[in-house]
Symmetry: C2
Subunit: 227 residues, 2 copies
Amino acid sequence: MITLWELKGRGGRRYSLFSWRARMALRHKELEFESEPVCLTDKATIEFSGGRTVPVIRDGDAVVRDSWKIAEYLEHRYAEAPPLFGGEIGQGVSHAFNAWVDRVVVPAMFRVIAADVHERVDPADADYFRASIEKFLGTTLEETRAGGDQALRGLGRTLEPMQAALKRQPYVCGSRPAYADYILFSVFQWARVMSPQEVLGPENPLCAWRERMLDLFGAFARNVPVA
Amino acid sequence: MITLWELKGRGGRRYSLFSWRARMALRHKELEFESEPVCLTDKATIEFSGGRTVPVIRDGDAVVRDSWKIAEYLEHRYAEAPPLFGGEIGQGVSHAFNAWVDRVVVPAMFRVIAADVHERVDPADADYFRASIEKFLGTTLEETRAGGDQALRGLGRTLEPMQAALKRQPYVCGSRPAYADYILFSVFQWARVMSPQEVLGPENPLCAWRERMLDLFGAFARNVPVA
């Protein structure tokens, strides 16, 4: 059995977007895992991993930290299971796609949901979260809430290329979902778990894609504690 | 012998970025081709293709129009030659990447080089080009030139995720170049052929990648008429 260390939110929420990438990758590879929730401020629990951030997995003797490294590990260790990348080119382009999502889509979503996330992190993490996110965004949580409409329009502009792509193919990876879908989906699942806001208009092609993602693996991502 | 219909600029320039995607894909597949330059305003010459835009290729009985469709055609028709996508996942993610480049990177580059491009299109196309690009950008060519510094900063911000990705791997597609590299490279080659501006700072990781791209296939993209 694989163990996944991941962030713990209020009410049993598992909110780390990077952990959702690992969760979806594990299910894609048809692997069972048990969740070990940890606080953002609890660095001691994951010291064995050699780092200070989750997600971390332990699979037998192997310990792997960082969502991208976990995906690479699973792809090569479980090569006979359904592919996450499908070869070197798929892996390379997925890595470049990962850089775009992390550096453009994640900050755009953070501007929309930061104050909601703050209300739902573990109480032990609330002050730490506020300080680090206000530094990252260069603004207070109260100001992000006041600027919500503008942030939502910014997120819409950021996502426009994916709306166009998902009009022409059902998944980021083509006719079936694979790791690049989980990269993008993790941002929406983070919002779904931690914010009561609907971040997509109903006519947005990303809505239908998000529903398809929530249906995967027996509605694995749908049936979790949410905002 | 494959024939490629593509845009004709002044002084023998081949400037269409979409045609550069087809050119690089043809060379990647180790295929020879002959270039048939056409004007932007000359729709009659390519009427046989069923459309009004280049690039178009003719390969024996097959006629294929649109750079993405040309790449798909070449990948499947010449499956034994080096892969452009390397499977369905690579093709799907490359398609999503294509949407981002076309909708975000291309407009950002256009704001930097539009006035330079206008000076180098075929004289027969100059008025048509000005009217269509001023409509697309919502500004005059003279205004784009005046706002050049701001446009260059906007392009830099847009490219930031690719700078990050290319610090960690030598090509967009991983350790070797493939179609997603040609998608992004086409935007730089367009600028190189049509503008005397250096659009990248010397310390930018994209510079070294661009040099590697220019070296491919016996410096195929380097040894062409440029601005």
